[in-house]
């Protein structure tokens, strides 16, 4: 679970364009073209073997990044709750840096849904926030077993919607494992009936 949250968070931030290298590359778009999906995001050929890559709608624009970073920069939390979020932000380049495992956990369960409010197209935002809500729900200490079926439906729906939004490179094995989280939780819980 710990590794999963970290990998998922870094992956998500990478595709939003605020962590690491840009993920909307020529190769990713060529793969989309090969799979005959999303005609709006195919590379256009230019002379001298160059390509024009249109901006992907899931990456944050300059103003959106500014709004998200302003929001995260102003967050204040009780002492001992989490790290100081300001330390993660590279305000000059508008990127996250030095995120560690627990930082990712707090980011994806608490801060990211807040920071994403009012930016991004509605479908991208809603799906991302739904996924964050799922991660938050599944990482609670106490989960109501009657809720597990609903949680499984939630995560499958958000993964299916993410397949429509992000390019296939988003779906590495760690993202796929989200589907099996609820099942694993169900079995580990059956040993501790309460």
């Amino acid at each position: 679970m710990m590794h999963l949250t970290k990998n998922l968070c870094v992956n998500l931030l990478g595709f939003l364009g605020v962590y690491g290298k840009p993920k909307d590359t020529l190769e990713a778009q060529q793969d989309l073209q090969r799979m005959k999906q999303r005609a709006t995001q195919h590379p256009e050929k230019r002379d001298k073997g160059r390509h024009y890559l249109g901006p992907a709608y899931y990456t944050l624009s300059k103003e959106e990044k500014q709004s998200m970073f302003d929001c995260l920069n102003s967050i204040k939390v009780p002492s001992g709750y989490s790290l100081n979020v300001k330390r993660l932000l590279n305000l000059k380049e508008k990127k996250f840096a030095h995120v560690k495992s627990h930082d990712c956990h707090v980011l994806i369960t608490q801060f990211l849904p807040v920071g994403l409010r009012g930016i991004l197209p509605a479908n991208v935002r809603a799906t991302t926030i739904k996924l964050c809500a799922f991660v938050n729900a599944i990482s609670q200490k106490a989960i109501d077993p009657t809720n597990l079926i609903r949680l499984q439906e939630d995560v499958v729906q958000s993964l299916v919607s993410l397949e429509m939004i992000f390019p296939p490179t988003f779906f590495n094995i760690m993202t796929h494992l989200l589907v099996h989280l609820v099942k694993r939780d169900w079995y580990s819980r059956s040993y501790f009936p309460s």
Binding site: K36, L159, V160, N172, H176
Partner: protein, 164 residues
């Protein structure tokens, strides 16, 4: 609780089974009906101690060594096993695990043909859950050859079977 930390480039990999064998022998002994006679100092009497392996906590790379399953390549998912849905991306040179529509209910509208999915419908069922008996049947004939040759290459066994 038994913590174990094996770092570094010289880790035993699949050969960890050799080191785990004594543990498994002891666990088999403790699983039996009669257990092991142990002295309880608190109530000052003998009792039969029984134990079981409850849960293992490990990271993703260690999972492949401990469980003996593959967790990379086309069949990377240790839950879906041979029903893993994977695609090779030619330009990114990566293997991706998509096709989450098969986890949806059978008559969900998104399972129908959709432009986002190359205009294809998905009628696959989700991978079935396999209990311990079936998993044991699947893996019982796998021949494991331990030890590595020079340059950490795997050595061919005598009967021509490739080691795990």
């Amino acid at each position: 609780m038994m913590p174990l930390l094996i770092p570094g480039p010289k880790q035993p990999g699949n050969d960890i089974d050799v080191y785990l064998k004594p543990l498994i022998d002891v666990l088999l002994l403790l699983w039996k009906e009669e257990g092991v006679r142990v002295w309880d100092a608190h109530i000052e009497a003998h009792f039969n101690l029984r134990a079981l392996l409850f849960v293992m906590t490990n990271d993703w790379p260690a999972l492949s060594n401990l469980s003996g399953q593959s967790n990379k390549g086309y069949r990377a998912c240790t839950h879906c096993l041979d029903e893993t849905n994977s695609t090779y991306l030619k330009h990114c040179r990566k293997i991706m695990y998509m096709g989450h529509r098969r986890f949806l209910p059978t008559k969900h509208p998104l399972r129908r043909r959709h432009a986002h999915y190359g205009g294809k419908a998905d009628h696959h069922t989700k991978p079935r859950h396999r209990c311990g008996k079936i998993l044991f049947e699947m893996g019982k004939d796998v021949k494991v050859v331990f030890e590595k040759g020079p340059d950490k290459r795997t050595v061919q066994s005598d009967d021509g079977r490739a080691p795990m």
